[in-house]
């Protein structure tokens, strides 16, 4: 997790759009990609780029420092994720992806090795969660947002968000317990 962007750095880069864009992209693109991956977006990398294409030109409108920036970025990512899922639901049967033709396979080997434990298990476990539970956990853990920020993005109250994350953890424990029971 590289989150070198601080309020001071953000202020220092104000006005220098090129360096500001690069810094924001380098600081948050990985998290956005992880969030979109965890949410099961069909092409998380392309959607990540779409998110930043929408975010970067509006950096001047953002206030609240790094927290405000993070909230803004993930609210845009959330909206994009919802759009992608709607598109997917409208055209559910798309099988154009072919692993042997995927050039990204070699470049993702490093991430795959690093996340060897996580991806399959985590993604499989997240499949057992409800949509909102998954969203809350992803925004809280991958995006690093607070309960209030998640509530603002999802349009829910903080209590509802806390309830969702509680239920999500219980569901995870049940499924991980089942998995541990079955797999050995």
């Amino acid at each position: 997790m590289t989150d070198a962007l601080t309020d001071e750095a953000l202020r220092a880069l104000q006005g220098n759009n090129a360096e500001l864009f690069s810094a924001v992209y380098q600081a948050y693109a990985g998290q956005v990609l992880g969030y979109l991956t965890a949410k099961g977006v069909p092409d998380p990398e392309a959607t990540t780029q779409d998110v930043f294409l929408a975010v970067l030109p509006r950096l001047d409108e953002i206030d609240g420092g790094v927290n405000g920036l993070r909230t803004f970025i993930f609210s845009v990512a959330h909206a994009r994720m919802v759009d992608e899922h709607r598109k997917e639901s409208r055209a559910p049967d798309q099988h154009e992806f072919e692993p042997e033709r995927d050039a990204r396979e070699s470049s993702s080997a490093e991430a795959e090795a690093m996340l060897r434990l996580a991806p399959y298990e985590v993604m499989a476990l997240l499949e057992h969660l409800g949509e909102d539970q998954r969203e809350v956990l992803t925004l809280r853990i991958v995006a690093g947002l607070t309960v209030e920020q998640v509530a603002g993005i999802m349009g829910k109250t903080a209590g509802a968000v806390k309830q969702l994350q509680r239920r999500a953890l219980i569901a995870l424990r049940e499924h991980s317990a089942v998995k541990e029971y079955v797999s050995p």
Binding site: M1, S22, G30, Q49, L115, I141, R166
Partner: protein, 268 residues
Amino acid sequence: MTFKDLDRERVVDELLLDAGLSDASDVRHTLLAMGHLADAAAPAPGPELFAMLAGPHDEVSKRRWRHKHRTAVVSVAVVAAMGLGASGVAASSSGFTRSPSFEGLLDSFAPHRAAAAPVLPVPDAPKVSTVPAPSVDPAAIPQPFQTVPSVPVAVVPVPAQQVPAASPQPAQQTPAPTAPAAASGVVPAATNPPATLPAKAAPGVIPAAPTTPAPLLQPAPSGPGSRPGNALSALSEKQALAQLKAAEEKLKQWRKQVERQDPGQPRP
């Protein structure tokens, strides 16, 4: 808020505590592994995003530079345009630039020279025969002889009488020159004698004495009239040699006479 691994662990622990699952290590492990999804490297920006990441910098910096140096750029452009215009005008107007040049001088001189040659001799035919002499004298004759010209003129007829055999032609042709000179035009007569006389007289006379140019040129005033006759009729070397010898003899006799007249005067 900076989001690092410690922060993530803090968030996960907070979630577990809130859900009453703080002892569920498998859930914690799952949540931490889920958090590692955020460690993915930033994907390489596509062309559109790359242009956005790189483009604004150039445009903004260019705009700032232009704004900062606008007056300098405009002034340089104005000065350059004015210089180009002035040089273009100067180059296009031929009369202004060509008059002081060498070609302009030659062009302005040539018509005068061409006009002067035909105009002058026609009315002043007798004077032209004497014109070449003063033009040659100041260059060739040393100063002492400028005071003497009356003497050689008076002397010249004497050698002609004393040595009729050596120089029959000058004596015979001396009356003639004015007529042919006036009739045929003096331009060749004026140009020929300076070219032929010094060239042939100088090699033979200079070793003899430095004063030779003066007597040699003395016949020139009366000679130019005779020269054109010779030059136009036949330019034989024999005649030239005969004239040279006659001139040498005239010189010797003239020197003797001069020495007789004023023996006390030193000769250079």
